[in-house]
Symmetry: C2
Subunit: 468 residues, 2 copies
Amino acid sequence: MKKYFLFAILISGVALLFAFAGNGPKARKVSPNDPDTLALKMIYSEALENGAAYENLRKLCKEIPPRLSGSRGAKMAVDYMYQVMNGMGLDSVWLQECMVPHWERGVAETGNMIIDEKITRMNICALGGSDPTPADGLEAEVIEVRDFDHLKELGEKKIKGKIVFYNYPFNETFVSCFHAYGDAVKYRWQGPHMAQTYGAVAVLVRSMTNARDTFPHTGVMRMDSLRATIPSAAISTVDAEILSAALKGKSPVRFSMTMNCHMYPDEKSHNVIGEIRGSVNPDKVIVFGGHLDAWDNGEGAHDDGAGCVQGIEVLRLFKALGIKPRYTIRCVLWMNEENGGKGAAAYFDYAKKKNVQHIAAIESDAGGFTPRGFGLDMKPAQRQKIQSWQPLFFPYGVYDFTQDGGGADIGPLKELGTPLLGLHPDSQRYFDHHHTENDKFEHVNRRELHLGAASIAGLVYMIDKYGL
Amino acid sequence: MKKYFLFAILISGVALLFAFAGNGPKARKVSPNDPDTLALKMIYSEALENGAAYENLRKLCKEIPPRLSGSRGAKMAVDYMYQVMNGMGLDSVWLQECMVPHWERGVAETGNMIIDEKITRMNICALGGSDPTPADGLEAEVIEVRDFDHLKELGEKKIKGKIVFYNYPFNETFVSCFHAYGDAVKYRWQGPHMAQTYGAVAVLVRSMTNARDTFPHTGVMRMDSLRATIPSAAISTVDAEILSAALKGKSPVRFSMTMNCHMYPDEKSHNVIGEIRGSVNPDKVIVFGGHLDAWDNGEGAHDDGAGCVQGIEVLRLFKALGIKPRYTIRCVLWMNEENGGKGAAAYFDYAKKKNVQHIAAIESDAGGFTPRGFGLDMKPAQRQKIQSWQPLFFPYGVYDFTQDGGGADIGPLKELGTPLLGLHPDSQRYFDHHHTENDKFEHVNRRELHLGAASIAGLVYMIDKYGL
């Protein structure tokens, strides 16, 4: 009897596990008077009613110039964020030094498609880290490349002396636009170098977006020993379609371009850090935040002003609600995520050297859109613990704890055994804005931004209370 | 033995039920080769890659004038949608007649806040169905009213001869913005009549939105025997704050307004209907769609052009993928949802008279935003059946089948025993656009719109296959 009973229990367990295969968590009891239910209600309500993240973001986007690493805007952003956190009555606000690359786009970026005598202007946008063209520009025939296999197939014979045009579109069937980005971004990242090895004189990359838009999306290219030294730029998806159609015609298609971008010596910069000291274990830290640098062609509202102001909002929520964390909770605004990761490296070096114990690290760098869940990169038992809290977050539209995730700035901490979490907002609109002039404050919704901040705060609250 | 085994199975079932208490469904098996998993993958991929809804919406919004019931634009929208469906190779496309109210805003809407000699212009927007002001306008002192209790407390003595200003804000702590709308909209709906009973000469209503914006949001007021006959208008939330602050000052605040809106005789109009006949049970119908009329001050892109083109897209997906439904699947574009519901009444009358059996009715009238789930209004067993499909939809971000729901146009069918479903997109941005000039095509994201259409199509597919 007992044997069968246990067997049935086992089946039951398997059924339960299986039942949640699609959406993860074991159930956590939720009732109106459950203290955690009440705490989360308090956190979300405070964020929705009195959230300060939106106004902080407005100032960052509208009162400070673009803030690519090494720029005047980046310095001003560091000062501004330091001031914001310094005015919040935190236990500690400090700057953490790092040396960052200083690349500037310059003022002259022009592109022209030339067929016979006919010239069609096209907006181009140098990839971050690209070399410039000669001062009087560069002109060559264009060759379209579908993917790296195609590049190899064409070989030096067909490519030498030409401008390689990578026209690899986002895969529309991927539901998460980040998956499409992950699939396509290699053509921006190492496409320039690969093309150069076959003798290309320049590279044009179809912008990394699902959108059919008319402005190019920039982004960094490979900056290590395999950095290309030929001019490399993005063109918009609409222009990519026009260029591709032209290449199917009879006349050869030439392209002329000028770029006077330039790499300057490294500059001193900083991560901005603010924290509330733990009441029980101040030496153990829950860290969260986003990156403060942003591409120079926009306001960096979604990428990643949103993550920065959400991190600060988590501290504000704890202060406003009088929640005293057991562990130290720390907001870090990392510098130089976009083109070097030097801020992340500096924070990692500090953590390693000082042997800082991190309970968890949470990054918000996927836009200020309506939150849907958190990606998790940690041990299975830790994962299950967080998944068991899913019913608490479900009423706020935060339901998905099944994905992997983390983030570029917290990534290095994995080596120290830190459990990593990444906020996953809805991804559908993200690449409409990413790395362009279209990434501006007006496209961030106040409530979506604040729901994201509250979600991080709620998770910090739970991790602080129950450990991980 | 058997007894204990059954007991354990029972426990297992209870555990399962409990496990899903937070998020609804019993688990449906999901595996990569499961036929339904494959069918949904096909449906979503086709919508994301080749969806036509976005382009249909562009034409509806950009090539056709505003389409409030009874207007020239509404007639053109009926013709356009008929043509679209007629060109799709459906089994039947037809128009269903209904008589609709014909109210026009007129050309002159002006508002001025007057304090001492100082005049501050404020945009006003007549509520749908309102009477006009006298031709030379109306001016009176303003009295702010917090809610109906406050109105009653002030009484005729304080209110008579004045303009009642309802300043009831959206409750920010409601996570769903539709709950906040449901809470506040009574001041637009019956506020005018209530104020008139106390002798008010006009009504200003704070716009129904979470947004802090500068344009008024219109919407219908009560149109039955309790319709107010005093001029009634909305003002923006920003102006509402300014007006409210002014009312805290020492000087009395007066307001002058002109509106020359007018109610004309009813007009003949139509629901537009297209269908694919069922291969097994053509007399039983799964109906879905949205409403074709929209407020006159915008393009009605989210409300509810989105629902219309999504309904048409469901038919396109079945055709494109060669899916032959067992039951007749029917898209209805209802006329006059905004200010009368005459299209819904006509469809109901037809269904009742002809004894049309509806397997289910699905409405999309909550915007073309990223879908999150479906609200259900049906018998518990039917509800559980749909909830058991949740794991199939989870990979597409459609996870919430726990809410109630339906819609204004399918609502009457409940009397005939029809199970009702309403698409629930994310609600955070909806009232940034609702009933304003800001409800335009540019604010609809192509992929979000198509994910919504695919979600409806997927549900129609499952209901058609398994019944309800």
